[in-house]
Structure formats: C-alpha cells, structure tokens
C-alpha cells in the first residue's frame, strides 16, 4: 500500500506540475500578448475593425461668361462584381444571368469577369443610365445579386459637346487635369478630399454609429470664363468652314473685348474634341494645346499697323505724310554675299504716297521708309511696349513669348529692321497680335488678356478685375490709326467684304511661310485683324488661315471676317447707332 500511495502522490505531483507548467505558459503568453507585443496587436486589432474612407471633393465646374455650363462633374453609377463572394459556380452563373439581363449584356461576358479568387471588385459597366441603376439597386436590396455592388463615380460632362475643347482641356483616368484650363487650374478646380474614420463588424459591415469625420472635403472652385458660348461656337463653325473652303491646312480665330482684355472666343483648327471618351490620342498630341498662345507665326503686313502706330505716337508721321515708294529696296550684305532685295508684294512701285496709302496698298517699301524714320531703337522699343517677345500672362498653359531679334543680337542687320517693320523675320503668337490690335482699339492702353472672369468657391467668389498693363501709344495716335485702318478696310478691293451697317477698322496680312531653305512664297499665312465699331471698338477680331489656296489675307481671310463680323454685329447689337454716327 505505501508504495501504491507513493506512486499516486507522484502522479498527482506530476499532473500538478504539468498543470502548473501549462498555467505558467498561458500566463506567459498572456503577458506576451498584453504587455510585450501589445502595440503590434493593438495595431492589428485596430486594422481589423477600423476603416478610413476618403471622401472625394466635388471638382469645380467651368461656365461661360453667361453662366452656361461647359464642363461639370456629376456622379454616375458604376456596377462592380466581387468574385470571391461568388465561389459557388451556380450562384455565380445566376448572378451573371440576372445582371446581364439588367445591363443588356450577354451573361457570358459578365460571367467571364467573375474570378472566385479575386476579392477586389471588378467594374462591369460604368456611367449607367439612372433607370438601369435603380433596377440594379432594387435587385441588390432584394438579395438577387450577391457579390454585386453599385456606387456612384465622378464623371466629367460637357453639356455643350465639343465646344471650346482646346480651351477647356481634359482629365486623365485619375481625374487630374491634363490639358487646357483643366490643367492650368488643377489645384483650384480639384479641391481637397475629406477623410472619415469608421469601424466595421466581423462581417466587414460598417458600424454606422462609429463614423467620425476627420476632415470634411473641400470642394473645388468653379471657373466662370470670359468666353461666350455663342461667340465660341460661331467662331469654331466659321473657321472650320473657311479652312475647308480655302483648302487651308489650319487656322485661328479670336475675338477680344479691347476695353477689358477679355477673350470672348478663341479657336484653332484642326483641334480635338472632349466629346470623345478617348480624348487623348498620341498621334494628335500636337493638338492638345491652346494653339493661339502656344504657336508663333510671322504676321506679315498686319505688323505694319504697329510700325505706323509707333511713328504716329512719336509724331514722326501723320496720315498725310508722303513717302516715296520706289517699289524696291536693296541692301548690300558685305563682300562676297549677294545683296538682299525687298519688294512690294505686288512688285509694283507706288511712287510718292501718303502713309494712309502705305497701309491701304500694304506697301513694304513705304513701311520701311516709316521704319527708317523711327530707327531701330524706337521701333524695337515699341515692339516691346506692344508686348512682342513677351508672354501675355493669359491663364492658358504653354504660352510662348514669340521671337523678336533686336539690334543687341549679333545676327541682327538692317535688313531685319525693314522686314520686321512689315511683319517678316519676327514671330508672334495670335494672342500677342490680337492684344496689340486691341491696344489700338482701347485708345492706346494695353489690357492684360484674360480668359477667366470669376472664380467661385466654397470660400466665396473672386472676381478678376480688368488689368491695364501700360499705355503704349497716345489716345490721338490710336484714334488716328483707327481712321487709317477704316480707310484700309473701306478700299475698293475690300468692298465685297464690308460688314453691313458697321464701320470697321481693319488690316489684312499675308506672310510667306518660313522653311529651312528660306521663305516658301507659294505657302502663305493669310490673316486679317479688325476693330468694330471703329470709333469706339467693342470687339477686336483676328482671323488667320494657314496655307490657303487663295493665298492673300484680302482674298482668303477677309470674307471670313465679313461673316464673323456680321454675326457678331447682330449678336452684340453693334450698328450705326453704336458707331457714333
């Protein structure tokens, strides 16, 4: 018995020791979990039940000057499917059939998207019509569509279709602006997303009472442009028609209010369209920019206005000052190099003519005579004052400053003085040229060109006031030049292109296209600029056609101005009564 009792005790002791050991281990593990690795497990636990939801900010809209929406973001429903929730093939099949019927898609196509191993939802279809979205939502609520979720996603919409695409720009897949105003004002339009912290239960469903707003979303600002949708549409239509009719390779058309610098319409051709869902195409990359500020060209005879304005401002000429147009000017280029000859565009000598006639006949030689009176110092000073060789500061991406070679440049020669005076050998952007013409229309005061009238956001509205840049020429010089421009526009050759009921100040321009081997006289840039009504201009207009069949500004661009000007006169109610007559 004693021995049996000893064994029993030993067993009890062993069992006790085992239990004690286990208890110790358990206590140690507890200590380990609760104390030594508490941070790690706390983090894991938090991750298990806590969720952070980013609340997207509403992207600002873009409106035209009258408040018509050009680009807006709305929420459209997208339906997704989570394969992991449909592991049973029969269930997956049934879901595919039901969803396919609702979406008008073959069930096979839906079924292909169900991957039982994938726990991330796959988008089946987005931008759903409201009625379809409602049906799917009801089916989900009834439990007929397991694994299917429907959620709204922001989509940029363009109610006016492709209107002003090159100005507005477009968004990428991540909804960031990639071109135009969408890119330039990305920070202002996008806003800042908000943040919500919440908790979920074991089935990963949100416990609604645990919601906590960490940071509310800050919506983006709306942009109200100076662009008028009617003007823009008319310009786009007329330019496209003009390019086709003239068999040109492209063109630019712009309208500005000279008193404020507000751009009322601006287009180039060819262009792209935001109405296309795949708006970005690599082969069309060159089009994804605001051509009127990113491309430079030699303006040709339109530049004679700037030369004449400078001479008028300095009192070196009057509209009746006589210059001798011999039809040709020859410059010696030094030993061994052939001389450079400058001729009039029609190869004719006009003889002694007034400065007004210099503009009417678009005399290169006559303009050179005026430039000679100015001298390089004054001419380039005025080029600078008119803003050539500088960016205008308009709110569009990729603006270039143009190319002006001054006497400080070692390659400059007196030939440049002559050619620059009539718009060759100098490159400007269409906007620079229009702004210079608008300056003449605004009695000599240059305004900063602008395309944004107002920015309206959660923090209030910020209206952009017109900004005068500087006085470039005197009031008298500007008014005198406008009268000379009226004489240009009313010359007999342009009678068919007169705008009925409106007194217009204008000037045509034709520039040979520069190539690597010199100028191509068979390919021209034909343009025309105008101020209307001439006495107190409300509108400054620029029309440019690249390589038109008719070649000259007077024959290719002037008819376009007539159509555009007539439409604008009717729209803005410009008539003889507003001419001051």
């Amino acid at each position: 018995m004693p021995s049996g009792s000893g064994t029993f005790r030993a067993r009890i002791f062993l069992l006790g020791a085992l239990f004690l050991g286990c208890a110790f281990l358990l206590v140690y593990r507890l200590y380990e979990f609760q104390w030594l690795e508490r941070e790690k497990y706390r983090e894991q636990a938090t991750r298990n039940y806590q969720r952070t939801i980013e609340v997207a900010a509403q992207r600002g809209s873009i409106f035209d000057t009258n408040g018509n929406p050009l680009a807006v973001t709305i929420q459209l429903d997208a339906v997704s499917i989570t394969g992991k929730e449909l592991k049973e093939p029969k269930r997956a099949e049934q879901t595919a059939v039901t969803l396919g019927a609702l979406l008008g898609m073959p069930a096979v196509d839906v079924f292909k998207l169900i991957d039982p191993e994938r726990d991330a939802p796959v988008t089946v279809k987005d931008q759903l019509p409201a009625a379809v979205a409602d049906q799917i939502r009801d089916a989900i609520d009834d439990g007929a569509l397991p694994g299917v979720t429907i959620e709204p996603r922001p989509v940029r919409q363009y109610p006016e279709g492709p209107l002003a695409s090159a100005i507005l720009g477009f968004l990428g897949k991540d909804r960031d602006g990639l071109a135009g105003l969408e890119w330039y004002f990305e920070n202002e339009l996008a806003g800042a997303p908000g943040l919500i912290e919440t908790e979920v239960d074991t089935t990963d469903k949100e416990i609604i009472l645990a919601r906590r707003i960490v940071r509310p979303p800050h919506d983006g600002n709306d942009l109200i442009l100076t662009i008028d949708r009617w003007v823009q549409r008319m310009l786009e239509r007329e330019l496209a028609e003009a390019v086709r009719a003239n068999k040109a390779i492209g063109g630019v058309a712009m309208v500005m209010d000279p008193s404020t610098g507000a751009i009322l319409g601006m287009t180039s051709y060819p262009t792209y369209t935001t109405a296309d869902p795949m708006v970005f195409k690599e082969r069309e990359e060159a089009l994804h920019k605001a051509v009127p500020v990113t491309n430079q060209y030699e303006p040709g005879s339109v530049m004679k206005l700037v030369t004449m304005a400078s001479a008028l401002d300095l009192g070196l000429v009057t509209p009746n000052t006589i210059v001798n147009d011999s039809g040709v000017v020859t410059f010696q280029n030094g030993r061994g190099r052939p001389p450079t000859t400058i001729k009039n565009w029609d190869f004719r000598a006009n003889g002694p003519i007034s400065t007004t006639e210099v503009l009417i006949r678009s005399s290169n030689v006559g303009t050179y005579q005026v430039a000679q009176k100015l001298g390089p110092g004054e001419l380039y000073k005025f080029f600078d004052l008119f803003g050539f060789g500088q960016k205008t500061g308009v709110e569009l991406p990729g603006e270039v400053s143009g190319t002006v070679r001054t006497p400080d440049d070692p390659a400059w020669s007196v030939v440049d003085l002559a050619t620059n005076a009539f718009g060759q050998g100098i490159a400007v952007t269409p906007l620079q040229m229009l702004n210079a013409i608008a300056t003449i229309g605004n009695d000599g005061v240059m305004m900063r060109p602008t395309i944004v009238k107002e920015m309206d956001g959660p923090d209030g509205a910020h209206r952009k006031e017109p900004q005068p840049v500087r006085r470039v020429i005197s009031v008298d010089a500007a008014r005198t030049l406008r009268e000379m421009m009226v004489a240009v526009y009313e010359q007999p050759a342009l009678i068919p292109n007169r705008i009925p009921g409106v007194r217009v100040a204008g000037k045509t321009g034709t520039a040979d296209s520069p190539t690597d081997l010199g100028y191509n006289t068979r390919s021209t840039v034909a343009s025309i600029v105008a101020l209307m009504p001439a006495d107190k201009p409300k509108l400054a207009i620029l029309i440019r056609l690249d390589a038109p069949e008719a070649m000259y500004g007077g024959t290719a661009a002037a008819p376009v101005l007539k159509r555009v000007g007539s439409e604008l006169a009717a729209y803005y109610r410009i008539s003889a009564s507003t001419n001051g007559h």
């Binding site: 600002g60 408040g67 929406p69 409201a130 279709g161 009472l209 549409r233 009921g501």
Partner: protein, 154 residues
C-alpha cells in the same frame, strides 16, 4: 393524558419563538435587483434602437445622395437640351429651319435688354432658377389698386 408543565422562562418553546427569524429582503433591495435585472436588456434595447436608427439614417443618406446625383444628372440633361448644338440640331432636323443666306440689319430704337445670368448648375448640386423671377406686383399691391379704385384707400 399528558400535561404540559408550565413553562419557564428560557424554556424551549420560548427559545423557538425567539429564534432569529429569516428576514425578508427590504423593498429597496427588490427594486435594486429589478433594476439590475432590467439594465442589460434596457442597454441592449437602447443600443439596438440607436443602431437601427443609425442604419436608417445611413439608408436615408444614401437615398438622399442618389436623389442629389439624379438631380445633377437631370440638370446636365437640361443644360444639354439648352446647348447651342442641340438647339441647332432640333431647329434644322425637327423644325426644318435653315441658316439665312444673308443677315438683314433692322434698326429699332428700343433699349437693349440686359442678358440674364442663367447659371443652371451651381455648387453643391443645388438647382438655381434658370429664369430669374421678376418682381411683379404682389396680390397685396393688386388689392391696394382695387381698393384705391373703389375709393377705399386713405
């Protein structure tokens, strides 16, 4: 026959009578126990109610969002229907209108009406009247006019 001997003080029967009685719990205790018993179900009821309300709120919020989104979609549809492209399309395709070959300018000596700001889509998706409401005479003014006509005015 038995007889019962007169009891002495401290005898058994007296002791029995004097034995400590089982004290009935006081009413306060009953109330306390009742409250204690009711606390968990009350808590559950309250939490359940709050949760139900929370989910109800969430559902309503979701519904509100759906309607707000629908409202925005309709506003875009309206804007699209008012777009120049659509107006021209309807004019040409449905009404058979044509662009005039030439614009005729007729001078009319009437003041030019100001263009109304017709901003349809505003921030927050709240609609804005496309046509500004004009401040016409109210019914009070109309009554006043009638009153004056009938000689009821002061």
């Amino acid at each position: 026959m038995s007889s019962i001997a007169p009891g002495r003080p401290g005898s058994m029967s007296t002791r029995m009578l004097a034995a400590p009685r089982v004290r009935r719990p006081s009413r306060l205790l009953w109330v306390f126990l009742l409250l204690l018993g009711l606390a968990p179900p009350a808590y559950l009821l309250q939490t359940g109610g709050a949760l139900t309300t929370g989910y109800e709120i969430q559902k309503l919020e979701r519904e509100r969002t759906v309607w707000l989104n629908r409202n925005q979609q309709l506003e875009v549809e309206i804007a699209r229907a008012q777009s120049l492209a659509w107006v021209e399309h309807e004019a040409v395709q449905r009404l058979g209108m044509q662009r005039p070959p030439q614009t005729v300018v007729v001078r009319v000596d009437t003041p030019v009406p100001a263009r109304s700001e017709a901003r349809l889509l505003r921030r927050g998706g709240e609609p804005m009247p496309a046509v500004p409401i004009e401040d016409g005479p109210s019914w009070v003014d109309a009554l006043d006019v009638i009153g004056t006509a009938l000689g009821l005015g002061d």
